[in-house]
Structures are given as C-alpha cells and as structure tokens.
Amino acid sequence: MAIKRRTLLAGMAAGSAVLAAPAVMGASRPKVVVIGGGSGGATAARYLARDSQGALDVVLVEPTRTYYTCYFSNLYLGGFWDLENLGHSYGTLAARHGINVVHDWAIGIDRDAQTVTLAGGDVLDYDRLVISPGIDFVEGSVPGWSVAAQNRMPHAYKAGSQTELLKAQVENMREGGVFAMVAPPNPYRCPPGPYERISMVAHVLSERNPTAKILLVDPKENFSKQALFEEGWARHYPGMVERVGPDFGADNVSVDPEAMTVDIDGMVEQVDVCNVIPAQQAGRIAHLADLTNDSGWAPVVPADMRSRMDDKIFVLGDASAQGDMPKSGFSANSQAKVAANVIRHELLDARLFPARYANTCWSLIATDDGVKVGASYEPTDEKIATVDSFISQTGEDADLRRQTFEESIGWYNGIVADMFT
C-alpha cells in the first residue's frame, strides 16, 4: 500500500538534507487516486492507465466488487435485460491496465496533505485526485421516507438489490393494484430515467396485471422527452398511467411507508407499490471534502472538470455542477476522457487537447420502441454549454424505433467496453 508522502519526505530529509525533493519524487511514478468505479471513475482510471502505459500509478477506490449500471436497469425491470448483464467486474482494469483496484470506502480527503483515508484504515496519497461518487439522496426531501424505509418503498435509483426488489414488488402486485412513483425534482441522475421506468412498469403490468394503474406524482412542470413518453403511454398502455403535476399539488408530497399511502397536498392515496425517488445531491465524499456549494453539487471548471475548490481534484459525472450536460453515464464517460487528458498533461507532459463533450440518452418505451435525445457541448467560462442537439420525433415509424432500440444495445455494449475492458 502507498507510503504517505509526508512520511517519505520526512525520512528523506532526515537521511540526506542535500537531496532535492523533486529528484526523490522523480524516482516514483506520479500518483492518481480515483474514487468511484462507475461511468466517470472507471473510464478515467482506464484512460489514465492505458494511455500512460505504466507511467502513472493509478488507484481505483470502489467499494463494490461487481458494478451494476443504473442505465438499462429499467430494461431489467421490464424484462428486456438480464441482471447478470448489468453487472461488471474490475478484473480487466487490474489485469490488463495495471490499475490498483481497492475495494473499500473512501471516508476522508485531506486536501492539504493530499491524502485519501479509506474505511479499512489505509491512507493513499495523490498528486491528482479524481472523484466520481455519483449521487446521494437529500434527507427529508420526501417527508415520511428515509433509507430505513427503502424496503417498503424502494428508490431503485442505485442499481442492484433495490432494482431486484422493485421488480419483485411490481410482478407480485395484487390484481388491479396501484403502482405509484414519486418522481424527483431537478436536477437529478438520468433525466428520462423515471419516465422510462414508468414505461417498463406499464409494460410488465399490461401483460401480467392489465387492470392495474400507475400513479406518477411529479413535482416538475415538464420532464425529459415528455411528448415522446406521453405519446407512447397513450399508444401502448391506454388509460394505465395517470400523472399528477405541481398544478395538483405534486410539489407537496409525503409518504407513509407503514400504511402504504401517498399524501399529495392533503389528498391521501392508498397504493400497493411505491417507488420513491428522492431529491438528490453529490455523493457523500464530495461533501466531506468540502467540494460542494449550497446547491449540494460540486462546481467544476468547464474546460477540464477541475474542482473550483481545489486544483488538484477533478469531479466527474452526476456529482459535478458543470452546466448543461445531463447527469448521465454517457456524460460522465465523456467528462472522464477530458479530465484524463488534462491529468496526463500535467503529470507526464502529454499533449493537451481542447475539451469536447457529448451525450446521448436512449430510452425504451415498449417492445422495440426506442427513443433518444442528445447533444454536443463545449466549455465556456461559466459552464459547459450546449452547442447542438437532437431528439427523436413523435410519430416515427416502427422500423426507426426498433433500430433506435437496437442502437441502444450497441451503445450499452460500447460504453461498458470503454469502461471495463
């Protein structure tokens, strides 16, 4: 395990006062620690290690041994994807790219000492730190709900056992029952995600439990791909989905997990399955390291994803506040490549290239009915700004929608190869 740099330097200083520190550092490889092995972190670690060909010491800190992607977990809910195809291991990153994969929690960052403390007690030092910790929920954002109640009312917004639980609850719901979703306020992970999930639940219910109803309680006026989803729900699942918006009090919602009720501005609904997706903020380690602002997210420099609080730290993906890019796996993957190039430039004098960012989000509405939205982005001084965008159109023919779905499978296989192989 890593030797603390201060200890090392202290030892060297004691041993030979004339030996200059830079010469000592030159004998060892520059160290980059990456916290979080999702779309941002795994991509960053892989590109740092692969492109530096051993010149960097790359440590990836990720508590889970199998990473379940959030993207495509809705397809698993809908029966279009297998759970084992959502799970990915870190073995190739270690074996092929020489990344030191440490399965542990990062519980503290000492920004002055440039060290990361792990729950297991180890201390890692770094020349550059990349954090890509994803999201945490804002406590109390849906009164009555807490993580302690997540078995009664799953969030299923971090993939894995929660996704399995929600799938089982949907499949075993009583005949003619009510599935409710409390959707999150902006900004949150995967803007079309809640609505793709509504589609997938509707797909399952329309086959297994066609008299069931879906109640979507949404605090937002509008949502991602709204016209496409609403067209699809009317076509594939007529009469099944009812959306309550803020005009009917959906911005004032509480739940009672014991009673299985949802209180919408005083109107109490008895439900059978309740998916609560709370308001979100940057993952905990970003707060512990004091990298977040009042918004709860970690502001970054648009040109390179560097924290505005600390120039040795880069923040990727959902946890970052960067501007126009949606909080998505694709965005995190795109941002990681920019940060990796900058870090290799700073530590290894690699050629520096100007940032380019992109994102596409595919969603599945029903069997072979896929849609997408995407954009390209460039940094300005204040934010990452959209330069060009596109979205699927309503009324597209079935062949194009099927092709879009098949393309989404190609993308899934592409991005996980770009992260894990």
Binding site: H88, F353, W411
Partner: protein, 273 residues
C-alpha cells in the same frame, strides 16, 4: 470478466434464436464436411480455395440473378467490391468467395473471430454464406461485418446466385463493372489529401468509442475499426452535410472540421488496441 451480451438479433425472440441456431448447425456441418477434402490437398496452398468435389449447383439454379444484383447494390456494395479490379474496402473483395477459406484475403484486417473460424476450417459455400448472411453474429460472433442480416431465404438465394457469378473461373467473371460505388459526396482533392494528426485523432476517437467498440465488435452499432481512410472521410462528410440520415452521427459530425475528420480516419485505420 465482462459480460458479453448477445446481439439484438438473438435477443429478439426465441423463434429467431432457434432459426439462427438451426442454420448455424447446418453451416457448421457443411464447414466440417468440406474441411476434410481440403485438408487432404492442402499441399497446394497458394490459392486458398477448394476445388469442388461435390456438385455446386449452377448459378441459375440458386436463384434470380437479376434480383440478386439489386440486393447486392442495396445490401453489400457499400462495403464490398466484386468484379474486375475489385479491391478491399471496408470489407474484403468478394471475387471467387465461393470455395475460399474464411479470412483468406491477404492483408485484409479481419477480426480475430473470423480468422479463428478460418483456421478451424470454415470455407465459404452456399450453405455457410447463406448462414452468414442470414445472421453474421450467429455464425461468427465477433465479426466486424456490421450487417443485421437478410431474413428472407429466397432473397439470400438470389443474392448468392449473383455473387456466384464472380466465383467462377477468372475468365468467366463478367467484364462489366456492376459494383461501381456511387459517390456520396464529391470532395475536393485537397480535402482527401489532408494528412490526419493521429494523436489528435486518438483523443477525438474517445468520443466515438463510447458507442463504437475499439475492437470492432458490432451489434446494434456498426464497427468503424480498420476502415480505409478515404471511405471514413467520405462517410463523415456525408453525415456532416446531412446526406446520411442519423441524428447522433449528424450531431457528432457537424462540429468536426476537415482536419478532425482526417485525424479520426487515420486513427481508426491504424488502431492498435
């Protein structure tokens, strides 16, 4: 180890999967049947072809050559050439493909997957080509041929009847050049002559590899690995000008300069991942 997901063609339904497997088994049996005689005469290895010892049906018996010619234009000619002077493009040239060992065109950058099938004794016959064209991924799982497959058995027979014309003895190959490619965009020579900055191309390519896999595995999203540079350049300009219809690709291409495109073309033509 990464979980490999079957391509969409295999996931769509049990019926499709069963049909593909049946065809696959038939293809494997055919390959095995032909491997024997070939091994026996492999001393003469210069042209890696097998002289038919069984009756290969005459072209006219396979299907409708004229319909096959139309199918070739729509389905194949964007990547493959046949006829006098045919060369390798995105895919290998297909003159005399009947009887040829899989992955046998010298210098063509085949996928490891199809090279292995060739070493294992896959020869292109009516039955193996039929299986490959029906669902490339069912026969050669890691192929870089980005082709969803031709479902209709009659269509495949027509297409193969047409292709069979180019597999007879050299003297029999028709003189006309029916496979001349249409040019999607006319690019000035100075654009085609830009030397790509490979390192810049590699950085730009990281935007591509979120979807297009570096090793060329193609399922749902086509392979762009080892494309000839000129073909890559023309394709990207066609997206940039909106002549090729795909929202994501047009969006990506619109912000690429001529130099960016040349850099990407150089990188993907010489990728070594």
């Amino acid at each position: 180890m990464l979980t490999i997901t079957p391509p969409p063609g295999q996931r769509r339904g049990q019926a499709g999967l069963r049909r593909s497997l049946t065809t696959l088994l038939a293809a494997m049996a055919a390959a095995a049947a032909l491997a024997g005689p070939v091994a026996a005469q492999s001393g003469d290895s210069a042209p890696e072809t097998v002289q038919s010892t069984t009756t290969i049906p005459r072209a006219v018996e396979l299907g409708d050559v004229e319909h096959g010619r139309e199918l070739w234009e729509f389905e194949c000619a964007a990547c493959h050439e046949m006829g006098p002077g045919a060369g390798d493009g995105i895919g290998p040239q297909l003159n005399r493909v009947f009887g040829r060992r899989a992955a046998a065109v010298a210098d063509f950058p085949y996928s490891d997957s199809i090279r292995r099938m060739g070493r294992d004794g896959l020869y292109w016959t009516f039955r193996t080509l039929d299986a490959y064209i029906e669902n490339p991924y069912a026969l050669v799982s890691g192929t870089r041929m980005s082709y969803a497959g031709l479902d209709d058995e009659g269509d495949r027979a027509d297409l193969l009847a047409f292709m069979r014309l180019y597999s007879d003895q050299p003297g029999d190959i028709p003189e006309a050049e029916p496979t001349a490619r249409r040019v999607e965009v006319e690019l000035p020579p100075e654009v085609l002559e830009i030397r790509g900055d490979r390192e810049w191309g590699e950085f730009l390519a990281s935007e591509c590899t979120t979807c297009h896999q570096r090793d060329g595995a193609a399922a749902g999203i086509p392979s762009i690995t080892y494309w000839p540079e000129d073909r890559f350049v023309v394709a990207m300009h066609a997206y940039r000008e909106g002549l090729r219809p795909h929202q994501v690709m047009q969006n990506i291409a619109r912000r690429l300069t001529d130099e960016d495109i040349a850099a990407l073309a150089t990188y993907f033509a010489t990728i070594d991942d």
